[in-house]
Symmetry: C2
Subunit: 142 residues, 2 copies
DNA sequence: TTCTATGCAAAAGCTTTGCAAATCA
DNA sequence: TGATTTGCAAAGCTTTTGCATAGAA
């Protein structure tokens, strides 16, 4: 099942409609990888000839998060950023505090850890996000 | 060395001054544990009879972060929150997505994991933050 | 046809900044 | 004294919201 189908299904389950704008926003998100914020998306769509208001972009990001197609990632600074997660395995982030370079990684130990901690505190774990800050190899040389 | 001394030292090293306001803000932060944002701090100070402008609060939070006395924590929603780190061991967070309850925990496996991942990607790890989202015991019952 | 979604512009946070007056070293 | 800091108010950002119009189903 593709991401559009997934979205359509979610919308139907909530009795919401699949509009031209919602479909365009979803496509806009999946043509790129990596992180984006509402503003990035707004201008990317505009470049692609789609004039969709920011209000709609914000409203749709909310829906896509609820549908489990994207998730919010903490990038440090003031505003909210997202990344799409459909068809991608879970991963965490390694961020260079010097140049901002970001590496995505996946490690089974994190999953184990999540289970262990949740058991300890009687939580039912749903997801996690791990950010490791440091200096990448090239910044370290300087 | 206490936190005030640490701050004083930092300020001196940057040729900045220790003002009445900066000292009051620092104290205000260390009387509580847990997370706070600029607004919380502003009102806590005001309750304590200290009328310090928000501009100064924001400016001082920046300095304290640079001095390594507080750190920013990602609490999910739009605005920035901080916690003090002076004299406290490192810890991560478990957050209930239903009631917002937050538990701090510390697990040596996280440290190991940080080292392992950094080695793998030739990063020099400095710090990390792990957030695990889930449902706490009481929310699970509902 | 009916109810939801969009677009616009205004409002609503939160944070930063310019500048004159106050304050620290 | 001389440079930095403060407070205020204004400006800047990002995000949200009200409402008339457009558009799915």
């Amino acid at each position: 099942m593709g991401y559009l189908e997934t979205f359509r299904k979610y919308l139907a389950s909530e009795e919401l409609k699949l509009t031209r704008q919602r479909a365009a926003i979803l496509d806009g998100i999946f043509v790129t990888h990596g992180h984006f914020d509402a503003d990035d998306l707004f201008f990317a769509l505009r470049k692609g000839g789609k004039r969709i208001s920011k209000a709609t972009v914000y409203r749709t990001l909310e829906l896509l998060t609820a549908a489990g197609l994207i998730r919010e990632v903490d990038v440090g600074k003031g505003h909210r950023a997202f990344e799409h997660i459909f068809g991608r395995s879970h991963h965490d982030h390694l961020i260079c505090t010097s140049c901002g370079k970001m590496v995505e990684f996946d490690d089974p130990v994190v999953e184990e850890l999540q289970n262990r901690v949740c058991r300890r505190f009687s939580f039912q774990g749903e997801s996690h996000s791990l950010r490791i800050l440091g200096r990448c190899a090239s910044c370290r040389k300087r």
